[in-house]
């Protein structure tokens, strides 16, 4: 399956600083078409397309919009999540840099469909260098009247991975610590300032103009039964050609990392970011889809020379640092995992370390408040499944080292 450029079709072709070049490629025709439809018809079209959230969770987009449209309450909010903090993910940055107008057209359509007059774009602090260009794109859209019904405001983050999680993101916009919220209520009924709120990822919104313009049937023809359309994959790590590849959903992981990105001697691939699933090198022929593995679209490749336990330890240190601290399973769970993995890395492991990691991992999966804590043990549990020997070796090394110490006094 070759690359299929739909979302990226304008990237490199248009001048992101000039709205006319976007219009020249058929830009804002979808918005015009949407405004000629009823909001309910727009939602029905998006629902029929099968579009699911591209930030990682994969919630059906149309169904979410419908909930917000039907929610009681005065003001409704639309938020674009551009807090792309997931490790190994850089697709949203690429869109913001090369085709900001597609995102703004998607937001205008979304605002019309759910009945929102106020929209936010939450941009991560690390992407501050994109602010100027993106602000210019917004003002050009305003001048042309494309944003007459949607007042857009950019809010910048200040360095917090957790703020990519939707409830933490809303707290951050409200001027609070970016801590996750208890749910329910869910954002479509009670979100930002307790009003109905839709939060969509950049890539999700960029799909919308294409769906409206070409119809849901065209869109559904791409992908698998439960995963329609294309997806932007961000390939990094031990590859010759790191970068963004747009592929139809259901494409083969092996083709992506080997044929397109040029990976060799693959030990494993992590799909979906820091808490993504681990695929060992001999299982690479796996379709990338919501039914199997997907996440944010991050694809990190590790070659044979890489140490599994070392990598898992680094990842857990990151998650521990970025845990917001609100719920105990995540705050304390990641802390203990860092301690145990640290023992293994430093040659101080004990036999009990493996069962401790497994038991704690299950508890965190079941009891953490938000996605961060629930998925934090995934890389640990997956590598224990596929690379158990690496953990066992660390323990026998530790036992050996302790023996030496005893002998040498």
């Amino acid at each position: 399956m070759p690359e299929k450029r739909i979302l990226l079709k304008n990237c490199g072709k248009i001048d992101p600083g000039d709205i006319q070049s976007y219009e020249g490629q058929g830009g804002f025709k979808a918005l015009e078409k949407a405004l000629g439809m009823s909001p309910d018809a727009v939602i029905a079209e998006v629902k029929a397309s099968g579009l699911r959230g591209r930030g990682g969770a994969g919630f059906p987009c149309g169904a979410k919009w419908e909930l917000a449209r039907n929610a009681q309450g005065g003001e409704k909010f639309l938020i674009c999540n551009a807090d792309e903090g997931e490790v190994g993910t850089f697709k949203d940055r690429y869109i913001l840099q090369h085709d900001p107008f597609s995102l703004l057209e998607g937001m205008a359509i979304a605002g019309y469909a759910i009945g929102s007059k106020k929209g936010y774009i939450y941009l991560r602090a690390e992407y501050h260098y994109l602010l100027k260009g993106f602000t210019k794109a917004i003002s050009q859209c305003r001048e042309k009247g494309y944003l007459d019904d949607l007042d857009l405001e950019i809010r910048e983050g200040a360095g917090a991975y957790i703020c990519g999680e939707e409830s933490a993101l809303m707290n951050s916009i409200e001027g609070k610590r970016g801590e996750a919220r208890f749910r329910p209520p869910f954002p479509p009924t009670s979100g930002l300032f307790e009003s109905p709120t839709i939060i969509n990822n950049v890539e999700t919104l960029v799909n919308v103009p294409h769906i409206i313009q070409n119809g849901s049937e065209w869109y559904r023809a791409m992908g698998t039964k439960e995963s329609n359309g294309t997806k932007l994959f961000c390939v990094s790590g031990d590859v010759e050609r790191p970068g963004i590849y747009e592929m139809e959903l259901g494409c083969d992981l092996k083709e992506l990392v080997k044929d397109l990105a040029g990976a060799k001697e693959i030990k494993m691939v992590q799909v979906g970011g820091s808490t993504g699933r681990i695929i060992p090198g001999d299982m690479l022929s796996t379709p990338l889809a919501y039914e199997t593995i997907l996440g944010s679209g991050a694809v990190m490749v590790f070659n044979e020379s890489r140490d599994v336990v070392d990598f898992v330890y680094r990842t857990m240190e990151f998650l521990n640092e970025e845990s917001c601290g609100k719920c105990t399973p995540c705050r304390e769970g990641t802390e203990v995992m860092v301690e145990v993995l640290g023992r293994l890395v430093n040659g101080e492991g004990v036999e009990e370390d493996i069962p401790v990691l497994e038991e704690l991992g299950q508890v965190m999966k079941l009891s953490a408040l938000c996605g961060l804590g629930q998925t934090a043990p995934v890389p640990v549990l997956d590598t224990l499944k596929y690379f158990r020997k690496d953990y066992e070796n660390r323990i026998s090394q530790s036992v050996f080292l302790r023996g030496l110490k005893t002998v040498n006094g």
Partner: protein, 147 residues
Amino acid sequence: MEKNQPGALSERARESLLGMIKEEQRKSGYISEEAMAGIAESLALSVGDVYGVTTFYSFLSTQPLGKHVIRICKGVPCFLQNAGMIIESIQEALGIGPGETTADGRFSFELTNCIGACDQAPAMLVDDEVHGHLTPEKISEILKSYD
């Protein structure tokens, strides 16, 4: 700034808190205790509230920072492309470790989580600028361009 008693304004008022803290950081290079107290008063919040938000985010600092802030990405994709060597080069060039500021106040040096430049790994931010495909040889050139 206007003074307000805690709780005197609506819940929506604190919406501007993060923006005000960031503005203070931009202006003064960090957020002092006095600045926090001032912001708290103008938004009718407790100083603890402002402190809580300030210390939650990694790009905000309660200590004075150097004129330029170097943030080397320690994410896994950068690590796989030898970010460790870049960290060492910066350490050697500046004579300081992560979390420290040079004696002349020119640079602060920090390690940060994924900056979304994995296709240009190893990468770092100097203030708001991204520098990618780093090698130890490139470091001194880059540092020279920040006075």
